[in-house]
Structure formats: C-alpha cells, structure tokens
C-alpha cells in the first residue's frame, strides 16, 4: 500500500501537467503582451465599463466554443453552428410573437438548438458520413429555413424581461452573459479534464476503434456532443437575440469560422485527440483583446482578420518551428 503523498507524487507525473504548462503559458504570455500593448496604445482601454462592453463582442461565440472544443477533440466538427443560432432565434421570435413568456421563449431556443444538433449527430452516426460534409449541408439547410420562415420580416416582440440575457448585469460591470460564460467554462473544464465523459472524449479522439473495443459507446458519445453543441448554440442564440432585441434571418452570419478559429487557436488539434479548455478560454480572451484593442484604434475589421489569420498560423507553427530549432541545435 502507498501513502497518499506517494500516490499524489505519482499522480503529478500525469502528462497533462507538462502539456498544459507549455501551450497555455505560451498563450498567456501572448495575452499579457496584447493587454499591455493595448493599455499603452489607447487611453480608453483600461476602463472597467469598456472592458465589460468588450466582452459582449465575443461571449456568445465563446460559449459555443466550449462544447465545440470537445466535439473537435472527438474528431468531429460542426460548421452549422451559426445557422443553428439563427434558427433557434427564429423559433424564439415566433414564440415571442405568440405572446409566450420569457421562460417559454428560452426553452424554445434551447430545444431548437438541441434538435438541430441531434439532426447533425443522427446524420453523422447513422450514415457514417464525415461531419464536415454533413454540416456543410445543414449549414445551408438551417440558414435556409430561417429565410423560409421569416422572409423579409423581422421578429421583435420580445418581452421586456427577455432583455436581461443579453443586456443585463449581475453585479456592477459584470454582465450576465460574461458571468454565465465563466461559469460554463469552469463546468467544461471539469467535464473535459476531470470527468469520465471527458476521458471518453479523448479516447475516441485518439482512437475511435480502440475506444469502441474498450466498451465506449462511440456513436452515443458523438451524438451527445452534437446535441450539446446544438444546445449551446441555443444558449448563445438566447443571449444574442436578447442583445439585439430582434431576429432576422442573417443573425450570426459567418460566425462558424470565428468560433472554430477560437477553438484551434486555443490549441485544440483540428484532427482530434488533444486540446484543453483552459487553452480555449485563453484564446477567447486573446482574440477578444486583439479585436477590442484594434477596434479602439479604429482599425477596420478586415484588417483585424488578417492579424487573426496570421496569428492562427503563427501560433500553430511556432511550437513546430521551436521544436525543429531545438532538434537542429541538438544535432549540431
């Protein structure tokens, strides 16, 4: 028998600690750098209200990024997320139109999201089609349905209490959206890194066949993840719809790529098998800070996208180059 300190010492040999340290410290370092640069570049940056306002620009995306990170670790992807957000918003709009109360509206949004996710998951697991292919299709399908349902009209009869989700504050400058995101981030940290669910996610992502042979129900697990992503699109949709106070078919257009960028920037391997929630959270802040900082300098969004694109490649390339340099130095 071992003493517990002995075991604890052995537990600390867990490779996850080593991996976490390198990638995350790299991202934190960059984030800190951007933070300092922003404070120097703009006198408006270090203002609690401004920082709080800035979080609105990325919180909804970040909320979807959490389950999407798990899905990508599990070797799948969902390109239809933005369209799910839109479709969920439309059902909420119709519920509001019908005079239903806020709880019903929210429920409708979440249900729509989960159903769309389930549809994706069904196509992927039932027919064994790569999810990138399936969700290219459902991306148009879901978005198309919003046009079918709404046409050129907008839905905006949301009850006053509904405003809270996207515009309310919990405590002083702390918005409801942002607090919810932080809470969910903790939940997802535990889910991925501490729970059996997370362990299965990694196992499937690394080797679906071996996981299946080890008694993991791979299809059900993937299905759950797709539904979870859909559900979180529903949550994001509640907040975005509330923040905009209205629904149009174009809502959240083009968000899928920025959400996927967040996840990849956070160190999640797009080919599955590895990644961490803390990485994704730091990447969310990194992207938020970069865009907000550049926004304060009135840099056009498309120029920001050049920077984000370069950052994406650079951040993925850096460890590879570093490793190669180290190897080269070792050989010499």
């Amino acid at each position: 028998m071992h003493t517990s300190s002995d075991t604890r010492k052995k537990l600390s040999q867990h490779p996850i600690f080593a991996k976490l340290k390198s990638w995350e410290s790299f991202l934190i370092f960059m984030t800190a750098g951007v933070f300092i640069a922003n404070s120097l570049a703009s006198p408006y940056f270090l203002d609690p209200w401004n920082l709080s306002d800035a979080t609105f620009n990325f919180t909804e995306k970040a909320i979807v990024a959490l389950p999407l990170a798990l899905l990508i670790i599990c070797r799948e992807i969902d390109l239809s997320i933005a369209s799910i957000i839109a479709l969920a918003s439309v059902t909420m709009g119709f519920c509001a139109e019908a005079g239903l109360g806020t709880p019903w509206i929210v429920l409708a949004g979440l249900t729509t999201g989960a159903l769309c996710g389930a549809f994706n998951g069904w196509l992927v697991t039932r027919f064994d089609i790569p999810s990138i292919v399936v969700t290219i299709g459902t991306m148009s399908l879901f978005r198309g349905l919003t046009y079918v349902l709404l046409g050129d009209t907008a839905l905006k009869n949301y009850p006053a209490e509904f405003d809270f989700f996207g515009q309310g504050y919990v405590y002083s400058v702390l918005s409801f959206e942002f607090s919810l995101f932080m809470l969910l981030a903790v939940v997802f940290y535990l889910l991925l890194h501490r729970s059996t669910f997370g362990r299965r996610t990694y196992a499937i992502g690394n080797n679906p066949t071996a996981a299946f042979y080890s008694g993991v129900n791979v299809a059900r697990h993937k299905m759950t993840l797709f539904i979870l992503v859909g559900l979180f699109c529903g949550i994001a949709s509640v907040m975005l719809t509330s923040r905009l106070g209205s629904t149009r078919p174009t809502i959240a257009l083009g968000w899928e790529l920025s959400i996927i960028t967040m996840v990849v920037l956070g160190g999640v391997n797009i080919l599955g098998g590895s990644g961490s929630i803390s990485g994704v959270i730091i990447a969310v802040f990194l992207m938020g800070l970069v865009t907000f900082g550049l926004g304060l300098l009135n840099v056009p969004g498309i120029v920001m996208s050049i920077i984000i694109g370069a950052m994406l490649i650079g951040v993925i390339a850096a460890p590879i180059l570093l490793k190669r340099m180290r190897l080269g130095a070792g050989r010499a």
Binding site: L79, L123, F127, D128, I129, P130, I132, V133, V134, I136, G137, T138, M139, S140, L141, F142, R143, G144, L145, Y147, V148, L150, G151, D152, G254, L257, I260, T261, V264, N269, I270, L271, P300, I302, V303, S305, I306, I308, G309, A310, L312, I313, I316, A317, I320, L321
Partner: protein, 327 residues
C-alpha cells in the same frame, strides 16, 4: 475503370437529367439549347475551382482559401488593368495565374514543410488573402468603365457559339483529366491520399503531393479570379465570399471522399453541374427566393447521404454460400 464509380456517376447523371426534365415541365424554355449552354457558362467558374479542390481533397487536405484567392487575384488583375490599360492581356493573364500559383504555394509550403493541418492553414490564409484585397484596394470597387474593353470582353467572345468562360472550363476539365489519368504526378496524388504510408514506401513524398495539389488549386483560382472579375465587370473585397463552401460541396456531391484517395473528374464535374443547375433553375422556375437556400442545403444533405449508401462496402464475404447467393 471500375463498376462502382460508374454506378455512382451514372446515378448522379440520371439525377441531374431528371432534375432538368422536371424543371422543363415548369419552364420549358429552360431546356432550350441556348439556355442550357448559358447555364453551363454560368457554372464554368465553379467547375474550374472544383477541379482544383478535388486534387487537394484527394490528397487528404482541403483548401478553404480558394474563394479568397479568387478575390485577391481578381482585384490585382483589375487594378493592374485600370492602372496600366496599355498592358496587353497576354501579359496580364500570366501575371494573375502566377499570383494564384504563389498564393497556392504559400498554402502548400505551410502544409508540406511545417506539417500544419491544411484546414488550419487555409482557414488562416483565407482571412489573410481577403484582408489583403481590402488593403490593396482600400476597399474601393473597380468598376466596369475603368477596365479596358478587351479585359471584359475576352472571355465573353464566342467561338463556335460557345463563350470563352465555357471554353476555359472545358480546357481545364480536359487538362485535369489528362493530369489525373495520364500523368505520373497526378496519379501520385491519389496514391498519397489513399494510403500515405504505402505511398511513402513506393517513393512518393506525400507532403510534396499536397504541395502540388495546392499549387494547382491556387493557379486555377488565379484563372477564376480573372474570369470572375471579367464576368461581373466589377472587382471588390467581397468577390466570391463564401464560395469555397459551394466548391467543396460540388466535390462532395461528385463523390470526392473527404478522407482522401477517391475522386474522379467526371464525378466532380457532375457535382458542379448539379449545383449549377440548381443555382440557375431556382430563379427561373420562380421558386420563392426565400426557399432557395433551404432547398440547396437539403439537396446537399440528401446527395451526401445517397452517396454514402452507394459507397457502403458489402462486407468481406468469407462464406462460399454467401458469395454464390450474392449473384
């Protein structure tokens, strides 16, 4: 070459013909030869890009930056044309193709030499290339009257009643066919995507194959940059925005396996034509514009599901009785 491919492609061809026939019952004019030709001409750019994308996907990579490459090369060519109207097209066209090639090479090098997954590389370059369009143009449009007449007219001029756009796509299809079926480099793309280890054992450099595929895809995107700008006689930042997904969808419908190694020129062409027919028919048969996107989305989903059914393996079949019973 093999029965399965033939079956899938015939199926797709039948579906397309059935679709055209169905459209014709609503709007008979649609099947007038001139009209079908116009629909083909309209699909030319999609076909050309799908050919390039097919080569990339067959090596187990993906190119999300094609549309941005189209926009960037198109803008550069339009700007050069307006700044230096005296520069003949014979010099301008190679410039655009070369630029497309360079953009493709950048993707290819990052994938080959750094081993970054293609989807990440092209997700990044997609933003970068499109951002560059904005930077070089300052967001301004280049309009029809600023371009020279020959710049706009060249791909519109007809030969044997067929417009330049269509001729270019026919040429690209033919060249791709030869490249894929008659050239060693082209065949090696398939081997590399089908089984990278085995490819390595037979002396094929898988990274280099991906690099070549990206180069070709970039070059074809360069061609399309010109065709696009000339066709709509305008260049601006959002040219071909989101078009990469159409291109990938065309490949997927055409039976190109996203897992690499499986593709055919015919399939890919049919996939592009399929989307082309839908794009061209929906406005004509007076489908509510609000239905168009949902219909094409549903059609993609259905096509993809149908495709996997055709592809499904029948199992190993060890039993003799089962083999006999199967025939």
């Amino acid at each position: 070459m093999n029965a399965l491919f033939k079956r899938r492609e015939t199926l797709l061809a039948i579906v397309i013909i059935a679709m055209v026939a169905a459209i014709a019952t609503v709007t008979p004019e649609f099947i007038a030869p001139s009209n079908l030709l116009a629909a083909y001409t309209d699909t030319s750019i999609l076909i050309i890009l799908a050919m390039g994308q097919m080569l990339v996907i067959v090596t187990r990579a993906i190119d999300l930056s094609v549309a941005a490459t189209v926009a960037l090369t198109g803008m550069v060519m339009a700007m050069v044309n307006t700044q230096m109207p005296e520069l003949p097209l014979i010099a301008l066209l190679p410039l655009g193709i070369a630029l497309g090639l360079v953009l493709g090479l950048v993707n290819g090098l990052l994938v080959w030499k750094l081993g970054i997954p293609a989807i990440v590389v092209t997700l990044g370059t997609m933003s970068i290339y499109r951002g560059l369009v904005f930077l070089i143009s300052d967001g301004a449009w280049v309009n029809a009257h600023e371009m020279t007449a020959s710049f706009i007219d060249l791909p519109r001029s007809s030969f044997l009643g067929i417009q330049g756009f269509a001729w270019v796509s026919i040429l690209v299809i033919a060249l791709t066919y030869v490249f894929v079926n008659k050239r060693q480099v082209g065949r090696e793309l398939f081997a590399a995507g089908n089984n990278p280890t085995a490819a390595f054992y037979t002396g094929i450099d898988v990274g280099r194959s991906q690099f070549i595929a990206f180069a070709v895809s970039g070059m074809l995107a360069g061609v399309c940059g010109y065709l696009w700008v000339a066709r709509y006689a305008v260049a601006y930042v959002d040219v071909a925005l989101g078009f990469e997904l159409q291109v990938i969808a065309a490949c997927v419908i055409g039976g190109v396996s996203i897992a690499g190694g499986i593709a055919s020129v015919t399939g890919c062409l049919l996939g592009a034509l399929f989307l082309g027919v839908i794009n061209n028919a929906l406005p004509v048969i007076d489908v509510s514009p609000f239905w168009q996107m949902a219909i094409s989305g549903a059609v993609i989903v259905i096509a993809v599901v149908a495709n996997t059914h055709a592809e499904r393996k029948s199992g190993r079949i060890i039993l003799r009785s089962a083999v006999v019973g199967n025939h």
